[in-house]
Assembly symmetry: C2
Homo-oligomer: 368 residues x 2
């Protein structure tokens, strides 16, 4: 009897809070009509995937404006059975635009931010430029969807490795407090863009012909080779990519003191990232408990067949929305830690899909 009463009170408070949030958020949502959507960096690996995803998911678009630098301007793209021409971005590109997806790098996002904001347009930015800005929400929709509503015209899309990692950390942290995380990554060429993917194929082909050539896009050849991530080295001897993983994960999980260390490695894979993750909890968690929790979480497929020795591979998640997790087992060096393995499509969930999912949260009043 008492329990039912308290449950009712809880539900009442929750409903009131939800109504309050909805009122508060109205102004932060996208208008309740078909939208004028611009894609900045639309010829890149992430940009072109994003356009494909907008079509697949029937995003309500009245006009699609494809933008790029002068280098790619003029390129034609078929979208929703119609040919579009990529235009060079200029001061007028964002006139009356409701929503901008940017994936042309931090300097481009910074350059056009004020122009975009002058139009009261919302920017979903795939660059790292604003991710750690405390006025800019950094969102993985399955993890911290409500952060979207705190935006002031710009929402950041996290780094690829961070998105994949936070998808597993969030549900697991609901079982027990996470004390420490140690990650080693296996990152594909796509993280360095379309040209790096093409270079991997070209250099591999040349290497197979016994004619190895020097790289032009990445600092070292990825042909049958791998190297520690080449993003700028920081003063603490971690590279920028590793620090993104650490700082962005802390922000997304709203845990600024989360203990986390990372080694980021580029491997000769085309478009999927993998991560070897060690998670220490405040108490022992049984692997099957963790698997159950991950199974019921959004955005995650479990690939774990011990008898067949079959676990996630980059090829499994290629062009897939969900990441794949498996080999969840108790760390042999610490009974309170779990070891697990995950793979996710870097271009899709690691970038383009996550950005579109953020935009979809802003369409809430479209469903009323």
């Amino acid at each position: 009897m008492k329990v039912i009463f308290f449950d009712k009170v809880k539900k009442h408070i929750f409903n009131k809070f939800h109504t309050f949030l909805t009122i508060l958020n109205k102004s932060s949502l996208l208008p309740k009509r078909s939208l004028r959507v611009a894609v900045l960096g639309s010829s890149g690996a992430v940009g072109s995937e994003l356009i494909k995803i907008l079509e697949e998911r029937n995003f309500p678009i009245s006009e699609l404006i494809l933008l790029s630098s002068s280098r790619s301007a003029g390129k034609k793209i078929i979208w929703n059975h119609k040919e579009y021409s990529i235009k060079e971005v200029n001061e007028k590109s964002f006139e009356n635009v409701d929503l901008v997806f940017a994936s042309a790098g931090g300097s481009i996002s910074k350059k056009w931010l004020s122009t975009i904001q002058d139009q009261n347009s919302i920017l979903i930015d795939n660059s790292s430029a604003f991710r750690l800005d405390e006025n800019v929400p950094l969102v993985v929709p399955e993890v911290n969807p409500n952060a979207v509503f705190t935006h002031n015209g710009i929402i950041s899309n996290p780094n690829c490795t961070t998105i994949l990692l936070s998808l597993v950390l969030a549900p697991l942290s609901s079982i027990a407090q996470i004390k420490r995380i140690i990650v080693s990554t296996y990152q594909s060429a796509s993280g360095a863009g379309q040209l790096a993917m093409e270079e991997l194929k070209l250099l591999t082909s040349q290497s197979l012909q016994g004619n190895p050539q020097k790289p032009k896009i990445l600092p070292y050849s990825l042909a049958f080779n791998l190297f520690l991530h080449n993003s700028p080295m920081q003063l603490n001897n971690y590279c920028e990519e590793e620090m993104k993983m650490i700082n962005e994960t802390r922000k997304i999980l709203n845990n600024p003191s989360l203990k986390l260390t990372a080694t980021c490695v580029r491997v000769p894979i085309l478009r999927s990232h993998s991560e070897s993750v060690n998670i220490e909890f405040s108490k022992a968690i049984k692997p099957h408990e963790a698997i159950l929790k991950l199974k019921e979480s959004q955005g995650i497929d479990i690939i774990e067949d011990y008898q067949a020795n079959r676990f996630p591979m980059p090829e499994d998640v290629k062009e897939k929305d969900n990441i794949a997790v498996g080999r969840v087992r108790t760390d042999l060096s610490n009974p309170n830690a779990l070891e697990l393995w995950l793979c996710g499509d870097q271009i899709r969930k690691g970038a383009a899909l996550n950005a579109v999912q953020i935009a979809e949260i802003l369409l809430q009043n479209h469903h009323e």
Copy 2:
């Protein structure tokens, strides 16, 4: 004055101990003459590298006997400017042989062990068959050379990833006690043999031609793909390769309770392994202290240029004797832990070279 006295006493004790060891060990050494040496599995990736290394290092050989299964018998090999024919192994193959190197797999080593022992020949075995046998020394010459002298006719060569890892753990453990190790590997196709290397090239070529084919040697294609090591899964949900790394490292470092966990991954690399290693010590170790210690250790090159963002890569160690270590930095999640990165040639230091180095310890009286 006092210090000099104690130094003399120390030196005296050391000399006495060394003489004692030498007398004790005479019987375990190889005869002081040119040797009859057999190589079992001489057509494989490790076997053929081993033959090359014996020539490079002027190993004292009066007769070289190249052995294999019937499949490779008859194959010709040039060694020291002379053509040799590989013979099918049989009961008489080991007659009057002083030393046998075996790298044809555990079942072959087991099959021929008694025949080899009947000849009072010493077997240096590259298979995992006897590695954890308490009567068989497991040796990395830079780490536990004296273990060699305890042999009873058979000495085991450790697993490739274990050799590379123990090369860095041994010197670092002399600075401070190691509390816990967490490793993720990036293992080349060569670990699965010559045919797996050829398959990686073939499947990659087919994939580049838009005609991806199924693998025959490895369970999944490594062409622009990677997967958790496919060695048999153990009851604790670790694969055999991971357990080798854990158990063999404990034995080599003579630390049966060493806390260690591993995730072993096959990547599309031809012949060098890499490892992302997290080492927790009993106290904080400065990265430059660790680097200094590693620099003065045998078998290790340091590749660490933070300004140029240049650290070890598989290509750096290809066909090299030394492993390469770099990116030694303080773990951001634990001030008492270091993160480091290493690469080593799997066929050479990970297998063939280490076996020859073991044999060289048995040549001690050749230098008297």
